[in-house]
Symmetry: C2
Subunit: 641 residues, 2 copies
């Protein structure tokens, strides 16, 4: 049994079966299959969010200080420290259904997780229009009477047989051309890149006649790589890992700051290209594919990630008036970015729109096939920044609203990042007004993170702890409302329920900061809609991708007036749409062109100088909103309860 | 005096004054100024052909075994081992006027040596149409209301202000773009390459606002580099040196053979790019120009030299049916060829026509402005191969006729290369039939080289030593005709006049080989003319470039029927037309396009399978030719003498 190279990994409660290589890292295997199990420590085994329970099989976890003896006894391991050495069955402890499933949502975790990838592959099968071609070419044999150069006759053949005229033959391939032509009696397989009009590989007629590529998403936190067979568009395998830049700064702003230091930019580029090289090399080794069979990489990411990947300073992205060096970098040789392993490959990055609306959003819009949508859609990528795009096949308008650090735990006294010990889900007992909560990792809480704060704010409002302005109702006999010298505080976890030395609470100042954050997102949506004279009710569907979005309780997000009050059935959670967009751009010429068109089509609205946004923002500093009629469901909840 | 950086070097008998840097190598200074003093040992101080006499000044020669004590006493030095440390005056010992001047030729050495370069620079002055531009660009400042990327606004400005749309900004320059734009208040100098549509440099408004390039000729024996100011087309300075590949093989064929060995190709590329880097770096250092101010290099050379420079195997150039990998290589980054010093420069090579008719010939045709010539011209580059092109502005036809090694001393019993001890000029006393000769280096002869053999053949025929078939006239009482067991031999230098242990002589077999060689050249010319239905008398002018051509006595070359019998006034000797063509291509877009047009226009005739050539070749095995009427001057000489 132990000599097998691949094992079956059954993942509960999703009931998904994966095929994994022997010795694979468990966390990487899950992420690689688009099951993005929680994690926030860079895979160092310290955050404890990736706990899984081993039900069957040989899954060995390295020693660590997170898993208690008790947990160990019941088969709990940290996925990021565990290795798979047999057919296994595991259960994700960190409540995947909670993380994703929202009340009234018809989409299951599984469907969501695989939604766009599956449909993307399906799409490619139906209509395969590659711009990276593999083609057999028969070159005319030279003679004393026809003694033109090898290059001339090769180009002539490519023009006649593959329809690409004046194809560029890079020097490294040109050097091999005469030998390969003669050894194969003038009959060769050519990998050609129609976009850059160049040869991306050449193989003998008895060769393996193959052509592959990589689709890459560089996220601020994770890196995902798909290995793709470009002869049919099939995803051969995929890999993922943390973005190793995390050690230089957890968020974009900290990385930009670090990039300004000596060697800072260089280090950031080195670790990200190194990581992509590593994941890609592993996938190639496993699939027995040579580096020189890789014809192209498409790379998607936010503007800062792409700048760092290119080794281009993101400095002015951070400084007003927030300017990128380029929104769309020209394609270039992989080696120029530091991906030196792939001598024949060019790198294509997805074009972005503005400093905080990047190629990852373009990819997302491509993944939801926005240019085919007749009805108006809202695309939201929720992280520290909320990136918003509204539109359909005819028009697109987008913005980035700085939700600020509140949802990441910043600007809130007891706020923490979504790590072990963070309260991530809150309900309030209607009678006692006592908070019930779930804590990441299951231990006592040390603070409250973004999704917990959204729950808390919604619950406080629904249960009358606060009024529409976010002020505490002091006359309802709330036993958990405490007055200090300076302020009132609502106790979420008393000291005896808390993992820290004091109460975990929320103050009016904290609430104020949260109100600003949620107001920013909703005002962004409203502003975009008003720019095109539409109302909330004109939104046909909402697509939520990335970061915070995954952990969100949509009902509460609606209650606090962060997300529009439309049927939760119109909400879809898509996971990583950035890599799906990169994949589509890689395998389909039409999709590649579509991505270019999308990036060109989005009108960018700079909110920091938009007066309407300011008006809406002020209006958004009420729960759920100044005009309650925009939130009929919330109105109903309030008056029914 | 000794602190000066430049000195004046007066060169006799040419009476030319040169400006040279302190500490310059004398041979390199001469070559760099297009005074190609003889030499054949790779500058190692062993061939002795570069002897000069120091008349004035401080010219120090390193120790060597060539210069005798006597010579040393009279101021003779080897130019290749000498350093110039003051204003100096030298005289070229190796009879430059003899080497170049031909009877009846109106062009002096000086005029020839500077003919095309001077007229090229003059031409550029008159009509300057650079494709490497320097242009001041004012980029729009971004704001919150106009927050497009730096690249977008830069491209917009370049389009509007320099007329180049969608200009490519290479990654290394893109990295600097945001900083330079802001430091210079959005006003920068851009070096742009119109052909590759890319930025080749960017400087601040207070920068030095400069743009330079190199024109390079890679000859089999020497490398010549011009440093050119691309803002006005001026030649800033030039440098030259031996092609260091010589140590791996003196001629093309030997180098191709060496290139097939392990590391052979790599070594050949390494030494040639290293040498160009070295010459170029010296020129830049002296002129205080930075490497990154170099926008482009144009490189001209025969196909084998260009293949080796590119690191592309020339193997199939040597094997039937004689195929190049490419006749025209795409332009590419300098670093890709190994010229890694010039980060912003692209390399453009002059397009060739066939395996033995390369970009050096295209450059030559450009240098003589062939596309402006209404009358028919003949261009000849005479080395081991004779490269021939006939035509005018409307048509061009060319071939390469393997003159064989006879003119290089091969296939002739007493033949040697044009090195020290070689008889290079011969006359025969009409009465005694004794040979008088000049020897390279002035010592006793050890053999006879190409120019000596042509003289000898001509003189033997004119003085009746041989008949029209190249057979000895045995009945004229020739005391120098000796019969061995096998053959008759005509003694050129008896043992007592010879530097070797035996007579230096020529046999009928030798003569036969020479007849074949000269027949090949003339038949080539005839065949080309007949292909287009023209006669010798239709040739309006003959341009002779390169190698053997420089040492040729045209009269004797006509007498033996190697060159057409037309007025010697129609002959021009142009020296190195390859570098002139590279220069023209570098500074003028029109000339660059013209070179492309020329390469496309030349119809290549493969002589080895041409029946007419074979006929003419057989006819050429007479002196001067089967039909004497084609050589009226020779006829006249024969019947007058």
């Amino acid at each position: 049994m132990n000599n097998r190279q691949h094992y079956t990994l059954k993942v509960l409660p999703l009931n998904i079966e994966l095929r994994v290589s022997s010795g694979s890292n468990l966390w990487q295997s899950l992420i690689a299959n688009n099951i993005d199990i929680q994690s926030s420590c860079g895979g160092t085994g310290t955050c404890g969010r990736c706990r899984v329970k081993v039900l069957k099989g040989d899954v060995a976890c390295r020693d660590n200080k997170i898993i208690s003896r008790e947990e160990n006894g019941s088969g709990i391991v940290l996925a990021c420290l565990s290795t798979i050495s047999s057919d296994s069955e595991i259960s994700i402890v960190a409540r995947p259904e909670k993380r994703i499933k929202i009340e009234g949502d018809k989409f299951s975790y599984r469907k969501n997780a695989f939604y766009t990838e599956a449909s993307a592959v399906e799409l490619i099968k139906k209509r395969f229009d590659p711009w990276l071609l593999r083609k057999k070419i028969i070159v005319e044999k030279p003679s004393l009477f026809y003694s033109t150069s090898d290059l001339f006759r090769f180009r002539k053949a490519v023009k006649e047989q593959a329809g690409i005229s004046n194809i560029i033959v890079p020097l490294n391939i040109l050097k091999k051309l005469p030998g390969i032509l003669r050894e194969n009696s003038w009959e060769v397989w050519v990998s050609a890149d129609k976009l850059s009009k160049r040869v991306a590989g050449i193989q003998g007629k008895k060769g393996r006649e193959r052509i592959f590529g990589f689709a890459v998403d560089i996220g601020t936190t994770t890196v995902v790589v798909y290995l793709v067979d470009l002869s049919d568009g099939r995803i051969v395998s995929s890999g993922a890992d943390y973005n190793p830049q995390i050690k230089y700064g957890e968020d974009i702003i900290n990385r930009i700051v670090y990039s300004l230091k000596d060697e800072g930019l260089k280090n950031l580029q080195k670790v990200i290209t190194g990581k992509i090289n590593e994941i890609a090399s592993n996938l190639l080794r496993e699939a027995k594919i040579e580096n020189n069979e890789i014809a192209a990489l498409t790379v998607s990411g936010n503007p800062t990630m792409i700048h760092l990947f290119m080794g281009v300073s993101p400095r002015f992205i951070r400084e007003e008036p927030y300017i990128t060096v380029a929104n769309h970098f020209d394609y270039l040789r992989a080696a120029e970015t530091g991906l030196c392993s792939f001598e024949n490959a060019y790198v294509y990055t997805t074009g972005g729109i503005a400093s905080y609306l990047g190629g990852d959003i373009t990819s997302g819009l491509l993944a939801i096939n926005i240019l085919k949508k007749k009805k108006t859609s809202l695309f939201i990528d929720l992280g520290t920044n909320g990136e918003l795009v509204v539109g359909n096949k005819d028009w697109l308008i987008g913005c980035s609203c700085s939700a600020g650090p509140a949802f990441e735990g910043g600007g809130v006294a007891c706020g923490v990042r979504a790590e072990v010990g963070a309260i991530e889900k809150v309900t309030i007992d209607s009678d006692t007004l006592r908070c019930n909560f779930d804590v990441i990792g299951g231990s006592k809480p040390v603070g409250i993170c973004g999704s917990g704060l959204i729950d808390l704010l919604g619950e406080m409002y629904l249960k009358g702890v606060i009024d529409r302005k976010g002020k505490f109702n002091k006359d309802i006999g709330n036993r958990y409302l405490e007055k200090t010298d300076d302020e009132y505080r609502y106790i979420i976890a008393e000291m005896n329920r808390s993992g820290s030395e004091s109460n975990i609470y929320i103050s009016e100042i904290d609430i104020n900061n949260l109100m600003r954050a949620k107001a920013a997102v909703y005002s962004g949506i409203k502003t975009l809609l008003e720019e095109v004279d539409l109302k909330i009710t004109d939104i046909d569907s909402v697509f939520i991708a990335g970061g915070l979005g995954k952990n969100l309780n949509v009902k509460n997000a609606i209650v606090i007036g962060m997300l529009p009050d439309i049927s939760v059935e119109k909400y879809s959670f898509l996971g990583n749409t950035s890599v799906i967009g990169a994949y589509l751009s890689l395998v389909s010429e039409k999709k590649y062109r579509m991505a270019e068109k999308i990036a060109d089509k989005v009108t960018y609205v700079e909110l920091s100088v938009n007066m309407k946004f300011m008006d809406r923002y002020i209006a958004g500093l009420f729960l759920p909103y100044t005009d309650l009629k925009e939130f009929p469901t919330v109105e109903k909840l309030l008056f029914t309860d």
